[in-house]
Amino acid sequence: MKNDAFISIRNVNKYFGSFQAIDNVNMDIGEGEFFSLLGASGCGKTTLLRMLAGFESTSDGEILIDGQPSADVPPHHRPVNMVFQSYAIFPHLNVADNIAYGLRKHKLSKPQKQEMVDEMLELIKLPGYGKRKANELSGGQRQRIALARALILKPKVLLLDEPLGALDKQLREQMQLELRALQRQVGITFVFVTHDQEEALTLSDRIAVMSGGKVLQVDTPEGLYEAPKTREVASFIGNMNFFQGTVRRNGSSEAAIETQGLGSIPISLEKVTKPDGAPVQVALRPEKFELLEEEPTGGHFVSAKMDKTAYLGERSHYYVTLDGKSEPVAVSSTNQFVARDDDRWKEGEPVWLSWSPEAVVVLDAD
């Protein structure tokens, strides 16, 4: 646990009646971090966020915000602000009044308020929109107003509940970039909820992968992708090939895993803690394989047969079959040096598959 954690979530559980929505969650979120909660719909992301905002109580455990226990602090006294999934723009107020909504207690003069609102409109790239009515705005514009309305209060933490979920793909990608730039600019801690793994990988400093109310793994995007800790995380983020294997330790200095399909793979000792003979799984991403026409002269390789190919423009996906493994193996490679059709792999052709042992992830057996 880091000591400079800005938000500490400790042993938190949440029950709705007898249904457990949050299951013993522990995590720390650092100051200024862009932190994402990633998981399928219904896994408890919104519930966790609403507990941070104070709209739901914790059934068990505690949440510290800026070192202070938050259990008895009502939403309107918390140093956090939220961007709602529905944006919740007030329809009876214009854009400027929406943005200035939270400033009432700040006892500012009208010109001061005006100046702050204009600054915000500038920040969200909607200058001159102050007098517009809320229902004259597009989805993307509402989303920005919701951001500005929260940011004008200079919160220590901004909570965002799938803020880009309602936008179409192109706008979403543009807003992702803007959101990330905005977060860097204002330096506020963002807790961002999404069910889109690509979005989480693109935006976040760290990601908590959730499932069924539990946090499966908290890590950097790279950590999650390259070193997932469980099969669930490995298959949730990107694609993954799994191979059954058995640990082989000969002496203390080296270890290997005897796999079904890839033969024996040498593994550094820090990757395997299991004793000799223990069953494990070996996982390799599709793009970690290299397809070769000729048998390589060194390294790790097996012979295979091309089963299916799919041309996707920038890259191609392939399924190849291996001896000793029933499911086909997914392989992905760029088409950087492939220009003509006859350069591509044909279905049914024999191929060679090579990989580097460093790319191998060792997981517990199911």
Partner: protein, 271 residues
Amino acid sequence: MSARGDTGTYIKRPNRPLQIYAVIFLIVLYVPVLFIPMFSFNDSIYVRFPLQGFTLQWYAELWSRDAVWAALFNSVKVGAVVAAISTILGVVAARAITRYRIPGKSALVTFIMMPLVIPGIIFGVALLVLLSRMGVPLSLYTVTLGHLIVCLPFAVATLLPRFEGFDPSMEEASADLGENGWWTFWRVTFPMVFPGVVASLLLTFTISFDEFIMAFFLTGTDATLPMYIWGQLRFPQEFPSVLALSSLILFISFILVFIAQRVGRMGLEDA
């Protein structure tokens, strides 16, 4: 943006047969009613053509009649109380229906809306039987009770669309932005449902003001305006002033309902 505009014009494209139908419908519906104000200005005690000439005599006569003023005052009293109570109950009902997960919600809504389709005479007789069994004397209070039953469904029907369009995260957003419960109500909840409340008040007041059947069964000694008109119909020489009074009620009702409609839809159009 353009796609939305296109479908809009498609749906709003004028439809000739429908327009003609609507005009005929309105004529059949309202022309008989227009005879009432017409004859109220007719300088004759008999309601028949040809018209005799213009006079304000019948209105002047009304003005000087104490019983009219008493009945008017009774109707306004009952109407105001009914409007206030049914709107408050309507707000509570609409909020509960839209906000909470109630088992059997649609059955509940049907139940609340039932008085719209059950003939008033049935409710009137039922209430009369019940009240006389319980030994409650008939008075303006019993009329008010009857009117509440008639008006509540209208209040709920007017308020429901308001509350249905009310995203509960609006109130949470307000709390999130630092406002406590009272300020949230004042700055968000109230302004958003206010037009619906005004519309409901106007509409229920008008319905109570015009209501006859319930009043017929439940009135004691104090008559409401429609009851007063009913009483006057026995005297042929009073008929023109009954027409004058009816015209006034017609006019006021029309204005109130018109305002209620306009206010009630305020801000709902493209929300």
